[in-house]
Structure formats: C-alpha cells, structure tokens
C-alpha cells in the first residue's frame, strides 16, 4: 500500500513539475530586470523627493539647502526617467 501511495504521489509531482514544458517556450513572461531596477530606482527617488519636501516644510532643511537638494534629486530623477524612456524605446 505504501509503495502505491509513493508511486501515485511521485507521478502527481512529476506531472505538476513538468507542466511548464507543455506550453510554448516563449509563453513564460517576466518583466525585464533592467526595467524593473529602473522602476524601483524611480520609485525610491520619488520617495526621496517627497521626503525632502516634507523635511523642508517641517523646517529641517533651510530654503537654500532645499533648493540645492531638490534640484539635485530632480536631476537624478530625470536621469532615471531618461534611461527608462530609452530602454522602453529600445524594447518597442
């Protein structure tokens, strides 16, 4: 009886694990890692910009420091967006 159970389970597992091979090679889809990394970087940069704005509004950053930091951060954000655009353009 144990052997029967073992064989049934083994067959079920083998069937399940081999399922991806029944479909076409290109059917599996995942996002481009480069794109994912840039999108995560963009998200982090937006958060940084929002944090800097909040720090300025709550008085932690002087006007001068904020202006400098904000333009630095926005410059970095633009660079990320440019790279994103370029990558998307290449893909399409």
């Amino acid at each position: 009886m144990t052997v029967v159970w073992f064989v049934v389970l083994l067959a079920l597992v083998a069937l399940f694990v081999s399922m991806p091979f029944w479909r076409h090679r290109a059917a599996s889809s995942t996002e481009d890692p480069e794109l994912a990394a840039l999108e995560a970087a963009r998200e982090a940069k937006y958060r940084e910009i929002r944090d800097a704005e909040m720090d300025h509004q709550s008085g932690k950053l002087s006007d001068e420091d904020f202006r400098q930091l904000d333009s630095e951060l926005k410059g970095e954000a633009v660079a990320i967006l440019d790279r994103l655009e370029a990558l998307k353009g290449k893909e399409s």
Partner: protein, 703 residues
C-alpha cells in the same frame, strides 16, 4: 539554474517544484498531527511526546516539542515561505529568482535529508512493540504561549532564508540594484515581525510559567533568538541608506548573511545540547550537521561578497555627520555591538572551556552591565534618527527639531529626580529621560508633517496624520515600532530596577508585610487531575486596609514519565511546574509563586506505595498466576483503590492540624505590563510598515 541560460520554462518548473514540496510538507504535517490526535503510538514521536491523558489541545502542539517534529516544522515553514516569496516574484527579478530558488531549496534539502538520514530525528520512525500509552508531553510546555511561540520564532528564523536567498541570488547574478533592495527589505521586515512575536511570547511564558519571576534570563536559547533579531533590525535600517544613497552595499550583504547564519546558529544551539538551557532539546546527533551548514553558508557567502566587491562599491559618501544616514550607521554599530556582547556571553562557556579547560558561564548581571549602556544610547538614537533629514540637516533645522525633545527630556529628568525614586537607578533614570526625548521627537515629527500637509491641502490635523501615514507606511509604521520599543524598554527599566522581591515562609493564617501590601496565607489548597497533584495557597493581599487581590498560586507535581512503576510518591519525582498568582496592572504587577512543604505528604505516599507493592507481590500476582483471567479486574480494582488512597493522602495537606508552612515568593514589579503593551505596539507598527501602500497596490493591480 539551467533556466538562467534562457529557457524560462526550467525556472517555472523549479517554482512548481517548490509548490509541490510545500504540498508534500503539508501532507507530512497532517499525517503527524493525525497520529498525535488519534494517539497512534506506533509513531515514536507520538509515543515519546504525548499520551492518552495529554489534553487534545496540547496533542496538536506536541509535534514541535520534539526534536524531529520541530525539524519537520522548520522544513514545512520553509516550504511555505519559499512558495509565498516565489509566487510574489513570479513576474519579477528574472535574473536572480533562479539562484534564490536554488539556495532556498538547498536549505530545504538539508532539512529533509537531516530528518531522513540524520540519525534519530525522523518523525515517521515507528516503534515495535507499540506501547499502550505514551510518556506524555513535558508539563512545562503545556501552556498557551507554547502553542504559538515556537511556530512564530521558527517562522522568524525560517523567513530569514528568503532575504538571504535573494541576496545570494542578487550577488551571483550581479543585480545588486533597487529592485533587489525593495524585495529583500520586505521579506526581512516580515521575518523581523515574526521573530519579535516569537521572542515576546517566550518572555511571557517565562514570566507566567517558569516560577522564577522574570521575563528574561539571558539564557543561551533566548540569546540565540535575540541575536538575529538585532542584526535584522540593523539591516532594516541600513538597507534604507542603500536605497536612498547607494551606500553600505557590502555592509548590507554582510548583515543579511550574518542574520541568517545567526538564525541557523540559534537552531543549532537548541538542538545540539552544546549549551545547557531550559528551552533546549538536549543532546542529539544533529549538531555537527548544523555546524557544517553554518560553515558552508559563511564561507560561501564571504567568498561571494569578496568576489563581487566591484559591484558593491558605494556610489556616494556620507555628506555630513548631521544626516539621517550617519545616524543610521551609528545605530547599526550599536546594534552590532549589542549582538557581539550577547554572542560573547552566550558562547563564553565554550570559549572558556577551550582556553582553560574549565567551563565558566556568564550570568545575568554580566549581560546587564554591558548591554544596558548601549541600550540607553540606542534609545537616544531611536529618537534622533527620525528627526534628521537625508544628506544633511542645517543648523537652524537642527535647532528647530531638537528644541522640544530636549525640553521634554529636561522636564522628565527634573520631574523624576524631584518627585520619584528614579534617581536610585542611574540607568533607569537615563532611559526614562531619553524615552521622553524620543517620544516627543516622534510626536513632533508626526505633528509637523501633518501640519505641513494641512497648510497645503486643508483638512483636520488627525485627517492629515492619517493621509500621511497611508501614503508612507514605511515611515509611519517605523515611528510606531520606535514608540513600541521605547514603551517596552521603559517597562524593562522600571521593572528590573525597582522591583521588590521577597521569599517568605508562612503557616496558614499568618501574614507578612511586603512594601505597602499585607500578604495573608489564608489556607492551603490541593487538587489533582489526570496528570498531576496540585498544591497551592489561597492568598489574600491587602493594601491600606482594603482588599487588593485574592491569588491562588500553585505548584504542580507531574507523574514520572521515565517508564518507572508509577505510585503515589512518584508524583514528586516527576517534573514540577508553577502556576503563578498574578494581579497585573498598568502601574505594577503583584506576582506570587508558592513552594509547598510536602514532606509529610511524601512520607505518607511512600508508606502507601510500600503497602501497595507488598499487596501486589503477596496477593495480586499469586492470584493472577493462579487465574490469569483475573488480571483485568484486579488491575482496575487496584487502580481504583490507589486513586482513592491518593485522594485521601493529599487531602491531608488541607488538614488544619498539619499546619504545613509554604514558601511564598512575592515580586512587586512596576510597569511590567508596559513590556507587553510596547511589544504589541511595535508588532502592529511593523505590520503597518510591511503592508503595501495604496500606491504600490494600485501599481501592482495595474501591472
């Protein structure tokens, strides 16, 4: 790994294999649980960790009280967290997921192979002949906290496999980018939350069940759980520096390796019997395998980090020491120092034995001496961190944010000095003062951000706080965690520095004074259940002439489970547990335990046992030899008589003429409840921080 060469179907297939492993592990757990619940003593694990008399509730949890069952739990939880992490990343992190899958399944292979080939740790091992009853579950483990504490702690330990596996995957695939940071941070936060729940439940169990009156004893196994917690705390902070500033990449990779290695070390400590602990499983054969795994993890990871130094270089340097990243770095160093002290103290018995040949242990005061000052500075930085801005804070900004917290700290310091006894403990005074600083800082941060929102968008201040929190779960969840930890630390400082502890010996009707309370030993109590004799004391506690509480602490003597012939006196040779009498309050806890004098009861029980033994050899056995059919009726008759004799003997404990004295331990601890309250706040904060923000949820839905 074949899938990394291009054909993604291999990667999908490996993910399906993880799902299949999870399903099989569920099946294994169901089989073992079914065996426990149906008293199937053909399973060795059931026969040695349960019995017919074990309450059903505890039969269900008995699986993880055994070495083999807890290994199965490890493998089961690992398969669940691996399934969740791979399902969550099935469309993402294309390059590193195959490697992360390989690492997680490598660890899973270790645990399943250990169960199958590691000696006596196979949960499916059967025994023959099948015993009629099992030896029962250790009574100390029959406590509500024990139902949930081990699975929570294990989930914390095991969850650390996920960030570790993704970190290794990122290093191998050379993708140490923002996408990796985002995913591992989330997994680490979840692991931290489970570890926190596990640790605090363990403390609660220690406080209410072990009868020594404390919640933390610097026991090796307790220490083993707190070390990965400290390192994961450091990681959760420093990963933010990497995310925002592109710095500390080597540091973060090392922290995640260290936290996983410490989780394995904790598992090794519980299982190897190398250090003595109330929480450990005792000697076993699995220790060397764990050491080998830890060795492989450490050597392999170190080599990998060194070989990837080119991609782990910091993109920037710290602009100013007056910045959030600098404070996070200091906070990291403090946490590492704390962990190093705990590590040294925990392993000192082994180190001293290796160097001098004599095993010496370091007790609680040693740990307190070195950890308390660091904890105090950490409280300070818990407040400073959120007030700093990234990159640098201006002088005017610093003045603006530090003014109120400093005023609050000064007021708290003077108030405590003038109106309380806090000055009797320097470190407690420091913690209270800095707690005032930190709480004010957190409130100020929340308030100012809400005020800024209100200025630009209108609405109420509470509404603005809620909108800010909803938009930034991480930040506000973090604030709540900080608040919870401060409350917890204040509870620890107050209860450990200002507790009153007295052991008093009283006879029924006698009273004694402990601080402002009068403790009266009203009467002895005695009862028994299927498993134990329970001796207790009815206590009345009065304060200022008014009744404050009625408590009934008990001491339970469990029947032996070592295969000896059971008598009445053998109850006193088995495990003894305490059920404390506790009146908990927000200001202080009144905690009592009792150590009854059972000398007279034992003496009577021994006499009865001798008579039973004589009756057995002189009457029962010859009668059974003459007529074997009498075995059944005579055995049940004898059991009934023995039961009646037990009742009669223990009833003597309540006899007023006996006047048996009891030793009552009384502990009055201020603010212990705040430890549990602080932990709940911190855990809720962590859950809020880990919860995906509305923006993220919408983006995921759209994708």
């Amino acid at each position: 790994m074949i899938g990394t060469r291009g054909d993604r179907r291999w990667v999908d297939s490996s993910r399906y294999a993880v799902y299949a492993l999870c399903a099989l592990m569920v099946l294994c757990v169901v089989v073992i649980e079914h065996a426990f619940l149906t008293d199937d003593f053909s399973f060795n694990v059931v026969a040695t960790h349960s019995s017919i008399e074990t309450p059903t509730f505890y039969k269900f949890t008995a699986m993880w009280s055994s070495q083999e069952g807890s290994l199965l739990l490890w493998a089961f939880i690992l398969s669940v967290v691996a399934t969740i992490s791979l399902a969550a990343t099935r469309h993402r992190l294309r390059d590193l997921v195959p490697w992360a899958t390989a690492v997680m399944m490598g660890i899973a292979t270790f645990f399943t192979a250990l169960m199958l080939f590691g000696g006596d740790v196979n949960p499916f091992q059967s025994i023959s002949p099948v015993p009629a009853d099992g030896t029962g579950l250790n009574p100390l483990l029959q406590h509500p906290s024990m139902i949930i504490h081990p699975p929570m702690l294990y989930t914390g330990y095991v969850s650390l496999t996920v960030p570790f596996a993704f970190a290794i995957g990122a290093l191998i695939s050379r993708r140490v980018d923002a996408a990796w940071v985002k995913s591992t941070r989330g997994f680490a936060l979840i692991a931290w939350t489970f570890l926190s729940i596990g640790i605090i439940l363990g403390s609660r169990w220690s406080y209410t069940e072990l009868g020594w009156g404390g919640y933390w004893a610097w026991d090796p196994v307790e220490n083993a759980s707190v070390m990965p917690w400290l390192i994961t705390t450091a990681y959760i902070h420093s990963i933010m520096v990497q995310e925002k500033r592109g710095m500390l990449k080597v540091w973060n990779a090392s922290l995640i390796v260290a936290s996983f290695s410490l989780a394995l070390l904790g598992t090794f400590l519980v299982r190897s019997g190398v250090l003595q602990s109330i929480h450990a499983f005792g000697d076993s054969t699995v220790g060397p395998y764990f050491l080998a795994l830890i060795g492989v993890v450490l050597i392999g990871s170190t080599w990998l980090i060194i070989s990837r130094l080119d991609i782990l270089r910091s993109e920037r340097k710290i602009d100013s020491l007056a910045s959030r990243e600098a404070v996070f770095l200091i906070n990291n160093l403090l946490l590492i120092a704390l962990c190093a002290i705990v590590f040294w103290g925990t392993f000192f018995p082994l180190i001293s034995e290796a160097l001098t040949g004599t095993r010496s242990t370091l007790a609680g005061p040693w740990f307190d001496r070195y950890t308390t000052p660091i904890a105090v500075v950490l409280v300070l930085f818990t407040g400073i961190g959120p007030m700093m801005s990234w990159r640098r804070i201006s002088m005017a900004g610093a003045k603006r944010v530090f003014t109120w917290p400093l005023i609050a700290a000064a007021v708290a310091f003077l108030g405590l000095l003038l109106f309380t006894d806090a000055a009797h403990s320097f470190w407690a005074l420091m913690i209270f003062t800095l707690a005032a600083f930190t709480v004010t800082a957190l409130v100020q941060e929340t308030w100012r951000a809400a005020a800024a929102r209100r200025r630009s968008a209108g609405g109420s201040i509470l509404g603005s706080i809620w909108i800010n929190a909803k938009r930034n779960h991480r930040r506000y969840g973090g604030y709540v965690v900080h608040l919870g930890l401060i409350v917890l630390l204040v509870g620890i400082a107050a209860s450990s520095s200002f507790e009153t502890k007295r052991d008093v010996k009283l006879k029924p009707g006698e009273s004694t004074k402990v601080d402002d309370y009068t403790v009266t030993y009203v009467a002895p109590t005695v009862s028994r259940n299927d498993q134990a004799l329970i001796f207790g004391a009815k206590l009345q506690i009065d304060r200022d002439g008014q009744e404050f509480a009625r408590l009934n602490p008990t001491r339970q003597y469990h029947q032996v489970t070592d295969g000896r012939v059971r008598g009445i006196a053998t109850y006193f040779d088995g495990e003894a547990t305490s059920e404390v009498g506790l009146k908990a309050g927000m200001r202080s806890d009144f905690w009592t335990s009792v150590e009854p004098d059972t000398t007279e009861i034992r003496r009577r029980a021994q006499i009865a046992d001798k008579r039973f033994a004589a009756y057995m050899t002189q009457v029962v056995l010859p009668a059974i030899q003459r007529n074997p059919e009498k075995r059944g009726p005579m055995s049940s008759q004898l059991a009934e008589v023995q039961s009646l004799a037990t009742d009669k003997i223990i009833a003597g404990y309540e006899n007023p003429n006996l006047e048996a004295p009891v030793t009552i331990r009384v502990i009055i601890s201020p603010m212990v409840t705040w430890i549990w309250v602080g932990a709940v706040i911190a855990i809720l904060g962590a859950l809020f921080a880990a919860w995906p923000s509305g923006l993220l949820r919408r983006r995921r839905k759209a994708s």
